[in-house]
């Protein structure tokens, strides 16, 4: 414990005079009508793709078209998309390495950067959205906030033990600044936008 008290004592001795926290309001607004368009534009920039589901074009159908070759599908929303492996029967997250496509729900999206909040309670295993070869996130299209400020305003960030903003597929530009999609995590991200009523039904 002595390092702790030494460090704290040094901080008290050396810290600068008081300085107030800034007021984070007011902020300019993105008109709510433009939220979805802004979100989708940001998603494209981040390397993600999307489709809008409808009663005529179900999520399962659309995902089957988007991922025709993927055989091992793991779904955290079995009522909406049926997987080939049962997420709840996987006890060791290492076994998720063989999953081709993981499907889960996103709580809400952020228009300015296409980040989607995914909470550990929506994914079964924390590793799942990172370890799968491809990721699909189902998002209620009414649940898009303008910026990160509104995102944190509505979030109880410490409620889940783990939560993450995901914006696009895993990527890197570490070799000569050449953008490569699919670094160690998912090689693609597909966002499925649904209408409120459809999500309620499922």
């Amino acid at each position: 414990m002595s390092s702790r008290s030494d460090i704290l004592a040094a901080l008290r001795r050396n810290k600068p005079p008081q300085s107030p926290l800034p007021d984070l309001t007011p902020r300019p607004e993105i008109p709510s009508g433009a939220l979805e368009a802004t979100f989708l534009q940001a998603l494209e920039l981040a390397g993600g793709r999307f489709f809008v589901s409808s009663p005529e074009h179900s999520v399962s159908q659309a995902l089957a078209e988007a991922y025709p070759a993927e055989r091992v599908i793991c779904s955290a929303m079995p009522a909406l998309v049926q997987g080939t492996v049962d997420l709840h029967r996987i006890t060791d997250p290492h076994h998720l390495a063989s999953v081709d496509l993981f499907v889960c729900r996103g709580t809400f999206g952020v228009a300015e950067n296409a980040a989607i909040w995914v909470d550990e309670r929506q994914i079964g295993h924390r590793a799942a959205p990172f370890l799968a070869q491809h990721l699909a996130i189902v998002l209620n299209r009414q649940e898009i906030v303008p910026t990160m400020h509104e995102a944190y305003a509505r979030l109880s960030v410490a409620e889940p033990g783990f939560g993450v903003f995901i914006a696009g597929p895993s990527k890197t530009a570490d070799i000569e600044q050449a953008l490569v999609i699919g670094a160690h995590g998912p090689r693609s991200l597909t966002v499925v936008l649904m209408d409120e009523n459809d999500t309620v039904r499922t």
């Binding site: 390092s3 702790r4 030494d6 460090i7 704290l8 040094a10 901080l11 008290r12 001795r13 050396n14 810290k15 600068p16 008081q18 300085s19 107030p20 926290l21 800034p22 984070l24 300019p28 920039l45 981040a46 997250p93 390495a97 952020v110 300015e112 950067n113 296409a114 980040a115 924390r126 590793a127 990172f130 370890l131 910026t147 990160m148 400020h149 305003a153 960030v157 410490a158 889940p160 033990g161 783990f162 939560g163 993450v164 903003f165 995901i166 914006a167 895993s170 890197t172 530009a173 570490d174 070799i175 000569e176 600044q177 050449a178 490569v180 699919g182 670094a183 160690h184 995590g185 998912p186």
Partner: protein, 455 residues
């Protein structure tokens, strides 16, 4: 270390210097475009700067609050006064769990503490999992940039390195192919690691949680698979409340790479059931740095690297020329606080153009601090001999107006008359790559006396 000497060596390969310069300028331009999408960008920078100033004035209480909340979340919190203690703590955790293989995501702090060689000496295999860091680790080098550790490598060199170390096909330097090879190699490491270590971008006092930002997902792949997660952070990484993340996450990636946000912004609050999560809070000279009034603002740094990408000196001298874990303008004001003598040349690795301060998302007065460090270096007597001599000479000259005027007259005359080989000597550093100016016929003072005689 000696920056001008190391920079001159880097500059020997002119084509490579040019390429390096352009690669970084490209990132700087992406940053500009990203920042312009936010009308309130300048207000955001100001808010970020004020939040950090507030944090520095209350580090003790916020760290205590953070510790209390993290403990309540089931996270084990450790305090380390220096690099040695940090390394010992990490090793003791790993030893207790019988860890043989550790996967690490990017952490400049552990570079600062030289954790890898320490653990390797104890028989632990350490795998850096950020692609850029893995490249420099395989090449047995240090990162040359804090965000893009392998920015100094040509893809052909990485192709050769991977052929040698990972068995990729000879002569293949396609980034897509090489990244795929690294993916296969690193996923195998994630799946077989006994523990994961990550850095920390922001730690939230209010909730006891911390945020790690990556594009590759490597921090998450490590932390969510291994039974032990150790997160190491410098004391200054703390922020008061979760709402402040809104400000910092809007600034960080836009400043760093021109992305609106990193692919993953992971918020860790509690360990997975049956696993352990540790946080090591590291001082390592930070409390001393905090006492320096002129220089403490450097502790606001959120490690985006924007000052490097914009710096005309960094771009043309490369990260390794700084000889410190954090290169570039911010490194040149952090390093002298640790060891003034060793890093005495770094505050001079700048044109003082101020571009670093202009792009800094937390508004650190980087170029002013560089200027102030120069005085400290000079007063401590760490200036090179020729510079000291020239400055003493200039001091004399400016002290006596007549001497100064005479020197000017003679200079203007001699510059016209003397042969080139006497003017462009090794002493004439300016003339190494440039022509001396055309000497004017008269000085401004002479002209003034001639034209503005009192009525």
């Amino acid at each position: 270390m000696n920056h001008p000497v190391a920079a001159a060596k880097f500059n020997e390969d002119a084509a490579r210097t040019q390429w390096h310069d352009e690669a970084l300028w490209f990132v700087r331009q992406k940053r500009d475009r990203a920042s312009r999408t936010i009308p309130e960008w300048e207000a955001l920078r100001e808010q970020a700067s004020q939040i950090k100033a507030h944090v520095l004035a209350n580090l003790d209480t916020y760290l205590e609050e953070f510790e209390r909340n993290a403990r309540a979340n089931g996270v084990q919190v450790h305090w380390a006064q220096d690099a040695e203690e940090h390394n010992r703590i990490v090793h003791s955790i790993l030893k207790r769990h019988g860890v043989r293989k550790l996967v690490k995501s990017k952490s400049m702090l552990t570079e600062e503490c030289h954790l890898n060689p320490y653990l390797e000496a104890q028989g632990i295999e350490v795998i850096d999992t950020d692609l850029g860091e893995r490249i420099v680790q395989l090449a047995r080098q240090a990162p040359s940039h804090i965000v893009m550790p392998a920015i100094h490598f040509r893809k052909e060199e990485i192709g050769e390195l991977f052929h040698d170390r990972l068995g990729t096909e000879a002569g293949n330097a396609d980034p897509q192919y090489l990244t795929e090879a690294a993916r296969q190699h690193l996923r195998a490491q994630f799946l077989s690691a006994d523990a994961a270590l990550t850095g920390v971008n922001f730690a939230i006092a209010e909730t006891g949680g911390f945020v790690v930002c990556t594009n590759e997902g490597n921090a998450d792949l490590g932390a969510h698979l291994a039974p032990v997660h150790i997160a190491c952070m410098g004391l200054e990484k703390i922020i008061p409340r979760a709402e402040h993340l809104g400000v910092f996450l809007r600034l960080l990636a836009r400043s760093a790479t021109g992305q609106a946000i990193t692919t993953y912004s992971s918020h860790f609050h509690r360990p997975r059931p049956g696993t352990e999560m540790h946080i090591v809070l590291v001082d390592n000279v930070r409390t001393e740095h905090l006492a320096r009034e002129d220089f403490r603002a450097a502790l606001k740094c959120i490690r985006c690297g924007a000052c490097m990408n914009t710096c005309p000196v960094y771009r043309r001298s490369g990260g390794h020329s700084y000889g410190y874990v954090v290169p570039g303008p911010i490194g040149a004001i952090l390093a002298p606080a640790r060891d003034l003598k060793t890093y005495a040349t770094l505050p001079f690795a700048s044109t003082l153009c101020g571009s670093c301060s202009d792009v800094c998302p937390v508004k650190i007065d980087i170029h002013t601090q560089l200027y102030k460090w120069r005085q400290v270096v000079t007063e401590a007597g760490f200036l090179p001999r020729e510079k000291r001599l020239m400055l003493r000479l200039a001091g004399r000259l400016f002290k006596y107006p007549h001497l100064y005027q005479a020197a000017g007259r003679w200079g203007r005359r001699l510059l016209r008359k003397l042969p080139r080989r006497m003017l462009y000597t090794p002493l004439n550093a300016w003339g190494r790559a440039r022509e001396l100016p055309e000497p004017p016929r008269q000085s401004f003072r002479e002209w003034y006396i001639e034209n503005r005689k009192p009525e």
